[in-house]
Structures are given as C-alpha cells and as structure tokens.
Symmetry: C2
Subunit: 358 residues, 2 copies
C-alpha cells in the first residue's frame, strides 16, 4: 500500500458505481483496481470497461492488495457490506444514504472506531457549484443575513431505475435526492434544527415517495424549505433565497441567476401602484428601478480539496474528513423525523442531535 495511491474496489457496478470509476480516473491518489457486482451482466460491463470483476464479495475482502472498498449497491445492504469491509481491514467509501436508520449507522461507526479504519459517506453534492454559491452568500452575507433558503429539485420523469421504486431496498426520493439536499443544509447552517414539518408525495402510485417537501426551522432564525418532485413538468428555481438586504435566485443547473438588493444610495422611493387582477396594489408593485440593484451571484465557496483527495488524506492521517460521520448521523436522524412528520402530519420538535462546531 503506497501512501500516494490507494487501490479501490467498487462494489455495485450500476449507475453510480460506474460513474465513480470514471471520476476516479482523474484522481492521482485513488486507483480503481477491480469491481464486484451480484449481476453477471454488470461484471461483464466492468470487464469491458477495463476493470477486473471479482467473483464474490469474499474474494474482495480476502484480497490484501485492496485498500479501499467503495459501496454503490442498493441502500438496504450498505450496512452488512460496510461492516464486513471494515472488519477485513479495508477503508470504506459508502454511497448515500449510508443507511436508512440512525441505529444502523451508529453500529457502523462503532466498527470503524474499533477497527481504526476510515468510513466516509459519499455526500458529493456538498461540492455542487450551485450549493457552494449559496453557501458563499450565507457565510459572507452578500445579500444580508439569509433568513429563508428554498432548495428545490424538480423533474418530470418519475422515480428512476429499478430498486428505487421499492421500500425494502431503501427506495423513494427522500432517500435519493432528499438526503443530498438535507445534507447541504446541515453542512451549511451551524445551528440546531428546532422543528421539521413535511409531506411525502405518492402521486405516481409507487410504494415509496415520488417526492416530498420539508420545512426546517433553525434556532438561529433561518428557515429552510426543501422540495423534491418527479411530477413537475415546469420547474421552480433550484434555489430561491431571501436575505435581509435582498433576494437571490439560481434558476437551474446552468447556474443562471442573480441577486436583487436594496439600493442604499437612494432614499425610500414609493412604488407606483399597479393593476393586479380586479384591484390596484402598491404593496405588490415592483420596487421602482432606482430603488434596487441587480447583481451577479458571487463566486462559489471552495472546499479545501475534492471528495476523493480528502478521503485519501484522511486515510493517510493528514486531514480531517470534510464529510463527518457526526453530520451524516444528524442527517439520518433528520430523515427519520421527516418521515415521522409526514406520517403523523405533525410538526416534530426537539429531535436534533446538533452539537456546535468547535
């Protein structure tokens, strides 16, 4: 095992597994040396892509040349696979959601602790540029203090793939896109969540949610609205954020967007009433042009390193993980309470395991 290159075997060579293989090609510290999949067709695909396919998971575990196992299987088998890997002395990258329940991840964390191996969850959307722009606005108060942050991901293609339609495999959109969007908030906002309210959508007739919305209230006064939809033929903006000095929007993945802020150079300018339906309104008239400034969005916050480089550095003992297991645990607990709020139609309070960052 070299300190500069760690051999990685990808377990589960479906959509995400093969995507990891492509991305790791560009990384100098990790190298994919093989894969394993329970399906013969995917083992064949792996061979065709140039990655030797192991015949069994036991063969991966027993191969001393393997430093890292990357788990990209359906969600329901993450726990068993991760624990075996750690017990065989492997470091582990696991796809999200790492598990469906807090208690399962707690067991996994305990095994990582006992074995002294690294377990990192692939919450890669912390690196999404749209999110990093919002994080920059939040941290630097470019439109004042953000007090309402609305994060929406809308599609019209229904639930993707195969196992994601099934509850037993950990399907549904809350566990797919939801875990990313909630993780972004937990990473960005250093404050306790005081309440969550949510609704799941079952419009498509699947046994799992085809979307959801959740409202999170934080102790520091921020409200987050998180929404995932797969029945939206027209999309609302990816991000819509309100600050004490203005409003900003990121329309979509192209990062088209803008901020509109109060212009403090001019005094208070009374808006001109506009016709709105059968009435007139001054309240809902646009502010006059002079009263506001339209600005470009700021440059995105930059992480210290990529996910893979950070993982390698953590294995080498030279960095703290950017995706901390305590944060992942907090998101899983949040997700359990999103499900609970939707099921009971209650606002859930006093559930967050937040501890202030040092």
């Amino acid at each position: 095992m070299s300190s500069s290159t760690h051999s990685v075997v990808i377990v589960g060579y479906g959509g995400m597994g093969s995507y990891h293989a492509k991305l790791i090609l560009d990384n100098t510290r990790l190298k994919v040396t093989g894969t394993f999949d329970v399906l013969a067709s995917r083992r064949e695909a792996s061979q065709n892509d140039g990655y030797p396919a192991y015949e069994s998971y036991e063969a991966v575990l027993g191969d001393p040349a393997v430093d890292v196992i990357l788990i990209a299987t359906p969600n329901d088998v993450h726990k068993e696979l991760v624990i075996s890997a750690l017990k065989h002395g492997k470091h582990v990258i696991c796809e999200k959601p790492v598990t469906m329940y807090v208690k399962d991840f707690e067991e996994m964390m305990a095994v990582a602790e006992e074995t002294g191996r690294v377990l990192m969850v692939h919450q890669n959307r912390r690196w999404d540029e749209d999110f990093r722009i919002i994080k920059e606005m939040y941290d630097k108060k470019t439109i004042g203090d953000l007090f309402q942050i609305e994060s929406r991901v809308h599609g019209a293609n229904g639930i993707p793939g195969d196992w994601r339609h099934l509850e037993a495999y950990g399907g549904g959109m809350l566990l797919d896109w939801g875990v990313h969007l909630l993780d972004q908030f937990v990473f960005m906002i250093d404050s306790k969540i005081t309440s969550v309210t949510s609704r799941l959508s079952f419009i498509l007739g699947d046994e799992v949610d085809d979307g959801f919305d959740a409202v999170l209230e934080f102790e520091n006064g921020v409200t987050a609205i998180v929404e995932v939809g797969t029945t939206n033929f027209i999309t609302l903006p990816r991000w819509y954020v309100k600050g004490t000095e203005g409003t900003a929007v990121i329309e979509d993945w192209s990062l088209t967007g803008r901020s509109v802020v109060q212009n403090h150079e001019v005094g208070k300018i009374e808006p001109k009433p506009i016709k709105a339906g059968v009435g007139l309104t001054k309240t809902m008239a646009p502010p006059s042009e002079e009263a506001t400034l339209t600005e470009a969005l700021p440059k995105a916050f930059e992480h210290e390193s990529s996910f893979y480089d950070n993982f390698a550095a953590v294995v080498e003992g030279t960095a703290e993980p950017i995706v901390k297991n305590s944060e992942v645990l907090r998101v899983l607990n949040l997700i359990e309470n999103v499900f609970k709020s939707a099921r009971t139609r209650e606002v859930i309070k006093d559930f967050d395991t937040y501890e202030p960052k040092k």
Copy 2:
C-alpha cells in the same frame, strides 16, 4: 328607492373607499351619493371628487335616501359600523376582512338575519382573471386532477400604508392579502380542509406579520400552498399548479403563463441524463421535447355577474350572493387557525366548518 338604482354611501374614503367610488361609476345599478370619513382631509378629497361628505356617521344612518352603506374603514371598526347600518335598515357592503374573529362576524350575520337586510363582504379577488383561469383548470381538469396548487403574491415594498402596521387595527398581511388568497381556495375547492400549517414572517420588525405561508390539506386530496411576502425582491410565480397530466404556471399579473402536459401520442421516452452539479441525473433531466406538449392556458371561468351587479340583484331578491356569508365565516375560522398554527408551530386539524355545497 328605485329597483334599478341603489344609492350608496362610502364610509372610509381612503385608498379602497375612493377606488370603489371610481369602479361604481361604471355600474348602472349602484350610484355613489356621498361619503363619510373621520378625517377632514378625506372629506375634502371626497368633495373634490364630486361626492358630498356627510358630517357624521349618524347623519348617514339617519338619511332615508341612503339604501346601501359601503364600509371601507380600518378593520377594527367594521363590526360596529356594519351593525349600526343594518339596524338603521341599510344594506351593507363591507371590505375584507369583514372582522378578525369568527364570533364578531356571527353577531353581524345574526343582525342581518333579524333586520332582513343584505350584508355582503367585498371578496372581489374571486373575480381576478388569474384566479379564474386556475378555477377553470380545476373544474375542467385541463391538466388532469389538480393535486397541488401554489398561490404566491410577492412584493418588496414592506407593509403598505398606516394602520396596516398596527395589530389593534387588524393590520398585517394575513388579514390584507391573505384573506383574498384563502377565500379563493374556499370558493374553488368543494372539500373540507383537514389540516393547516403556517408560519408568519416578522422580518421587517413590525408588530404585525409582513407575510406568511400556509399549507392547507383538503379531504379530496388537494394541497394548497398560500404565501404572501413583502420582502421578496425577486418574485416566484403567482400560480404554480400540478395536475395528474402536467404542470401549469401563471407568472404574474400580466397573466403570462403556460401548461406543459404529457404527450400521450408518443410512448414512454427515456430522458437523457444531464450534468447536475457534480453528478449526472436522469431523474431531474427535462423530459425530451417529444414527450411533452406546451399549451396556452384556458380561458378564465366567468362569474354570472360582477360583484356590484350581484349585490344589487341580491338586494332586489333576484339572485343568490356569489360571496356567501357562510364562506366568509369559514375563511375567518381558517384565518384564526392559521394564526394559531403559526403561534404554536403545530399542524392544526379538525377545525373546518365545511358543509358540502347543495
């Protein structure tokens, strides 16, 4: 008193009062014959506009030539003024919100009943064309059954005017725009509200809400999201509605909008994955062009008559009111529960006084 022209005195000659005077100019069955306001400056404005100003409310009540009193004062004095008017044999049009509490309106309804006079609340935004387009889509299922209807009114000018900043006068945006938006839903959706969840906004530091959002769930499966904001420098669409066959949007008061629906002429077309942040997504890729049809919005639902003509016909005994007091009462009860949900941060259930329409 002629059956074709009813003389109207406007009480409260501010923004709405003077707006009524202008609108009634075009109506053949009502005629504004005078006004009363407690402020000398507004009595003067009325005289300048050609409407004689009474010296006191008692003078209006005592004038046998007055058929109708139209109340456009701050909200806190509606009840007293309306009850006096009814007891003096006048028919009454009252601005919204008619009162702040259910019990007050129940007293007013009882007096209308005893005196045999007509009391109608000016819920004029039932006539807004944007709303009537959505009602047409709801009734005619132009994009299938609507299951989520989002109604937003966004401005960036703060709370308007003077008394609307003060709790004692019935200020705040829930009682201003909120009562219209909630009334539209109660009018449109013939189903019991099973829950309401809401949050009020106090960003501007006023003692009353500068905006709110509320989620209403109806027994028939429809969810309504209602939002009013006065700190939104960028606006979200006025209407965003999801149906079982597609999605529709009305951007703003100009009625710019469209529907996008599934194209049943073509089979299922797999979307092409797109780059989204650091990942690829098929789920959140746009449906391929062939898979959808973009359509214009339908023509708006048409009421049988205008608000004023309907009022005149109700006075003459030839029509049922379009704005029924039972509906107004239901909206007031809903508003009380919106306040309650925001105050307690709870989902409120089992409060709606719905009775199925005959």
